[in-house]
Amino acid sequence: MQRQSEARLGPLLLLLLLPLAWGKGPSPPRAAEELQVSNRLAGQAARVALHYLNYRLGSPSALRALGQVRKATLKTIPGIGHKYYLQFTTEDYKSSLNVGTCLATVFYLKRKPRPAVNINCTYTKDQKQIREDDYSFYKKMRQQTKPIIGNDIPDSYGNIEPALEPAWALAVAGSSYLMWEKSTENLGYFMAQVKNVKQWITKDDSIDFDYSVVLHEIPTQEMISCHLRVIWTPGHPLKVKYFCLSENQWSESEEGSGTESGSTNGIFNEKEAHF
């Protein structure tokens, strides 16, 4: 039953998304090249899509990591760029349990600095629980009279102090913005470590953190140091400012929904079978 629906999805997916590609101009459609699911560029593109999703959802309790790529197609649009069409499973960032499947397109444009992402996912985790977890972290941080501070999360031995785990998760969400922006077809990122976290106690409704993070860059293997400022209110878009040591100026996330470079229809709380 499941295999049948997957087979139907493939051609359906292409049909749905072809108009998007054509919208760019009079260039004729190019043949789509099916990629092996183990193809590293496909995996890399899937990760970029997830960076975008994690940033846009802006929820430390709902972070996702890549599970398995189930299907990948690459379309080359001459003079414009490379577009990946992907289907992949996802895991809960903390527990590694499967939490649903995503369909995404990742468009690496020659003339734009960051990839354009469209992503839709099913979600098998309880939405109410996520909201509660987010809110309880938010409340705890709002109630701090002394700012939360921490170093080396995880530490050299992989330990994360339970009290600092939500702040670490927020760093992952904030870093996701930065990693999405920096990713190219050939350069990918992982958040390796939070070197430093410091909370700013604010008078408004948001919680406010300063982070120093270290990103692991593939394939160069470089460790990139970045400063992140993350401002968050549950249910609102994450506000992120960042500055990486190789750059000359702060980069900021857009206010509001920022649909220019991508979109996500959010999440469906459907069971796998219905998808």
Partner: protein
């Protein structure tokens, strides 16, 4: 003297209290008070002699002796294989393994690192003369801590189960195993003292302020080609020439002089991949079909334990093009069964894998390694 004590101005620690004018008194004098006490004693014509010049020195010596004794007593049965250890502890564990399983395990040096640390290998052998052998190394990139930990666990596994485990027994009855737990000891020490994320060797590079060469871009296989950097400050700097790094040269020399290495296996982290040549070029090796089949069987065996999934393929197609890599060299040298593992995880913790995952990683990796080794044994 009692007066001194009651005054309490100079802090003296009486080890033998004044009781009887006939009996001596022993006093520990803190250094700042030393001058004053000597002057006092001399001016009052009180004879004194120095029993211990510097107590602190003795305390340090004793502490060190205790540590050494603890290590010796602990042996391999108390060594915590599920934790990350500094270099000295790993080296002590190697000694303990050789001492505990003397008929099977011996420790050898294959040379020294740039900073003159010994490079120790363990040889597992049930006899014979120069039997065909399997080579396994870990920690060529020092920040990949789960690899050294996995290699050490593997050493204990092999040593302790020879005789009871049929696979290990039949393997070692025909072949030897050589295991290099810490391929890059200078880098490993540096990850403990200075920078947890250090990857390269610690060699000085002439004409640069930056230190270190990527030891897995330094082998003589497409050296200097794509996927390696010419910039000494880069994490993937290939070095001034192939085998410029003494750590690499020592392994090459050992392999060449042994002459009968049948498999070259190396551990890295992270990404959960099982890779075979080539990395320096994006064409398939002549033995692609066999290596792919063996790799897939190994990945399947690995996954059977904890469900950890690995992708299998050539370096170039699975990870990225990278020149000067060890398994490319070993394959071109004639060692057909050349594989590289990228162990757990897939990016959540990355290099900072929690210690709680060491043993599960080692256990599953062992199944993959064994699959490869059995194939090698059966296809000599």
């Amino acid at each position: 003297v009692k007066w001194c004590k009651t005054k309490g101005v100079i802090l003296l620690d009486f080890w033998r209290r004044p009781s009887n004018p006939e009996l001596p008194v022993d006093i520990r004098v803190p250094f700042p008070s030393l001058q004053a006490v000597k002057v006092f004693l001399e001016s009052h014509h009180i004879e004194y002699s120095i029993l211990l010049e510097d107590l602190q020195v003795l305390i340090e010596e004793e502490k060190q002796e205790m540590i050494n004794n603890q290590r010796r007593e602990r042996g391999t049965s108390n060594f915590n294989y599920g934790a990350y250890h500094p270099l000295d502890s790993i080296y002590a564990a190697l000694d303990d393994l050789a001492a505990e399983y003397p008929s099977l395990v011996s420790k050898q040096t294959i040379g020294e690192s740039y900073e003159k640390r010994p490079m120790y290998i363990l040889k597992f052998s049930t006899g014979g003369t120069n039997r065909p052998a399997i080579w396994l190394d870990a920690g060529i990139h020092s920040r990949e801590w789960v690899t050294q930990a996995t290699a050490l666990w593997t050493a204990k596994k092999i040593a302790s189960e020879y005789g009871s485990n049929p696979s290990i027994t039949s393997l070692l009855n025909r072949m030897d195993i050589f295991l290099l737990v810490v391929t890059n000891p200078d880098g490993y020490a540096f990850t403990h003292t200075n920078n947890r994320m250090w990857r390269k060797t610690r060699s000085k590079i002439s004409g640069s302020l930056c230190v270190g060469v990527d030891p897995n871009r330094n082998w003589d296989a497409g050296f200097g080609g794509p996927g390696a950097s010419t910039n000494p400050c880069s994490e993937s700097y290939h070095g001034p020439s192939a085998n410029s790094e003494v750590e690499v040269k020592n392994v090459v020399n050992f392999i060449k002089s042994h002459g009968k290495i049948q498999a070259f296996l190396t551990l890295h982290s992270y990404s959960q991949l099982l890779l075979f040549p080539f990395g320096y070029k994006c064409t398939n090796p002549a033995d692609y079909n066999e290596l792919d089949a063996v790799g897939k069987a190994a990945a399947s065996a690995l996954a059977s334990l904890h469900g950890t999934t690995y992708k299998v393929g050539t370096i170039c197609s699975t990870i990225y093009q990278a020149s000067g890599g060890s398994i490319d060299w070993s394959y071109d040298y004639g060692i057909k069964y050349s594989f590289a593992f990228e162990l757990r995880d897939t990016g959540r913790y990355g290099f900072l894998l929690p210690a709680s995952q060491i043993i599960p990683t080692a256990e599953e990796t062992w199944l993959g390694l064994l699959k490869i080794m059995e194939h090698v044994r059966d296809n000599q």
